[in-house]
């Protein structure tokens, strides 16, 4: 009798405790992120697809087409080309294709890069029904971004919201791509390539995978 009464009392007490806890949760703010309307900022070390890092001084790519990433890639999804521009000590990248359909995000390319010229982007809105959206021309994307941020400052930069995490290009509004990169880092001996004078024309014109 005494035991069962005690059991009832403790049981009831535990019920009240449970209800107090849920009521506490009731008044706390909601934790939902309404995804298409709002999205979370990715953490600093999020490993998305790779992107080219720009030189803060010139606003151009740091990459000088040494092709270490291309060789490090186990799935063969990177294609780099570079050319030695007039008056430059080093080559500079003219063509950087990432075939994201094959990429397994292993990060070997970023590890292989000795100059920190590529990094993980924080882009994760990559859903698409179109395979071509995943053949990314990273060099072209960088250049478009640079020209938009610098040269056409008045125009709304809405067309390319994709790589939003990069530092804004610091200098030289409207500098044509052929200007001197002025890099005075110790030059590396790269595999000689037939220099390509003009910009490569990529099959996909737009930077891909903008969230629709």
């Amino acid at each position: 009798m005494k035991n069962s009464l005690k059991e009832i009392a403790t049981g009831f007490n535990s019920l009240l405790t449970g209800m107090r806890i849920t009521l506490g949760q009731f008044f706390k703010p909601s934790v939902t992120v309404q995804y298409p309307h709002e999205s979370l900022k990715m953490p600093e070390r999020f490993r998305g697809h790779i992107e080219l890092v720009r030189d803060p001084e010139t606003g151009k790519a740091l990459c000088f087409a040494c092709k270490l990433c291309e060789r490090a890639c186990p799935s063969d999804c990177i294609t780099v080309d570079g050319a030695k521009l007039d008056g430059a000590k080093k080559k500079s990248v003219t063509h950087y294709m990432l075939d994201f359909t094959k990429c397994s995000l292993c990060g070997s390319c970023v590890e292989a890069c000795r100059d920190g010229a590529i990094r993980y982007s924080h882009e994760y809105n990559l859903a698409s029904t179109n395979k071509e959206d995943y053949i990314m021309d990273l060099f072209k994307r960088l250049e478009t971004e640079r020209i938009e941020a610098g040269g056409v400052a008045q125009a709304a930069p809405s067309a390319n919201p994709v790589v939003g995490q990069g530092t804004p290009p610091a200098g030289s509004p409207g500098v044509p791509p052929g200007a001197a990169p002025a890099a005075d880092a110790p030059g590396k001996t790269c595999a000689a390539e037939p220099p390509k004078a003009e910009q490569p024309s990529a099959p996909n014109s737009q930077p891909s995978a903008a969230p629709k």
Binding site: G18, M19, I21, F26, S30, V31, Q34
Partner: protein, 339 residues
């Protein structure tokens, strides 16, 4: 509202009262059933720290209307081999007792369709039909889940009807009447005159209220006693084969039953339309108390997991029935000794 209906009904009492009752109760029940679904979903969301329905209308307020429109546009499927008559009748049979019972609930001092002196008896007489309706729905569906659910509903409701009626007998002994309006009038004054706090009549009065509330949860098949539609084991229980508005009516009836149960608990224990401070009594207080109880129903649902079936029956037969019997005996003894 009260004075208007009073004035008109003084002029031309009976037919007008009937029309007012039918229109008033139908709209009240309809709107409540629709918006209790919204309350349930919003409440569930808040307890789980989600926003809940937000897309249809401001804060999802038009969601119930969208749901109703969807349900009404659905095809009414009557599966092969079912008992067609019973299958069609069961949702109506579940809905109509609630509407009938609400006739005697005093929402305000004069705001009751009928002030009959056996109101409480009538509610319990009609309340039991509801169980039969679920059973018929499950039985006529010719579906294993529905039949298991029907069997569960019956045993659950038999188990919980007993403590509920014992508690109600206690209340009838305390109040000395079955007229709901008079029960409310007896609780006039401030909140310590409410039946739940009348510990000088019976020191176990709050326990009595808890038993009533628990039984009400079980009778309306609400979580944690929703064995009848334990969706993880029984799909949708007795409603498995129902589609479109057949399901919709069952759903509405379920929420209307909760409404009725909470209204009855308010009348019996929480002073009905009496204000807690003794002033400004009216239908407003009735609604406040009733909706607080309904909120508690949602609160309980999203706090406790579903019991197992033996736990459900153990709670009733081993705890609720002995305790309610004890309160009944205690009340009668105290009434005999001190009155």
């Amino acid at each position: 509202m009260t004075s208007i209906s009073n004035g008109i009904s003084a002029l031309w009492p009976e037919p007008l009262r009937l029309v007012l009752f039918v229109v008033g109760i139908m709209s009240f029940v309809g709107l409540n059933a629709a918006y209790l679904v919204w309350v349930e979903r919003k409440g569930a969301a808040r307890f789980q720290r989600r926003p809940g329905p937000t897309e249809v209308g401001w804060a999802g307020l038009l969601q119930p209307i969208a749901d109703a429109a969807k349900l009404m546009s659905k095809q009414l499927i009557v599966p092969a081999g079912v008992d067609r008559t019973l299958f069609r009748v069961a949702p109506l049979l579940m809905m109509s007792p609630v509407l009938m019972s609400l006739a005697v609930i005093p929402f305000g001092e004069h705001l009751a369709a009928r002030n009959i002196n056996v109101g409480l008896l009538m509610i319990f007489a009609f309340g039991s039909i509801n169980v039969m309706a679920i059973m018929l729905g499950g039985w006529s569906s010719r579906n294993k889940y529905a039949i298991i659910s029907a069997a569960r509903v019956v045993s659950q409701n038999v188990a919980y009807e007993i403590p509920m009626l014992l508690v109600v007998i206690t209340m009838i002994m305390v109040t000395g009447t079955m007229n709901l309006n008079e029960i409310v009038v007896q609780q006039a004054g401030a909140f310590w005159h409410w039946n739940i706090f009348r510990v000088w009549i019976n020191p176990l009065m709050p326990v009595t209220f808890l038993i009533f509330y628990t039984c009400m949860l079980a009778e309306t098949n609400r979580a944690p006693f929703d064995m009848a539609e334990a969706e993880s084991e029984l799909v949708a229980g007795a409603y498995t084969e129902y589609s479109g508005m057949g399901f919709g009516v069952f759903f509405m009836a379920e929420y209307s039953n909760i409404l009725l149960g909470c209204a009855l608990a308010t009348v019996l224990f929480l002073g009905g339309w009496q204000s807690p401070f003794g002033i400004l009594s009216g239908a407003f207080w009735f609604l406040v108390k009733m909706y607080f109880l309904i909120f508690s129903v949602v609160w309980i649902r999203w706090t406790f997991p579903r019991t197992q079936f033996y736990g459900l029956l153990n709670l009733s037969w081993k705890i609720l029935i002995p305790v309610s019997l004890f309160t009944l005996i205690l009340t009668s003894a105290m009434l005999k000794l001190f009155r």
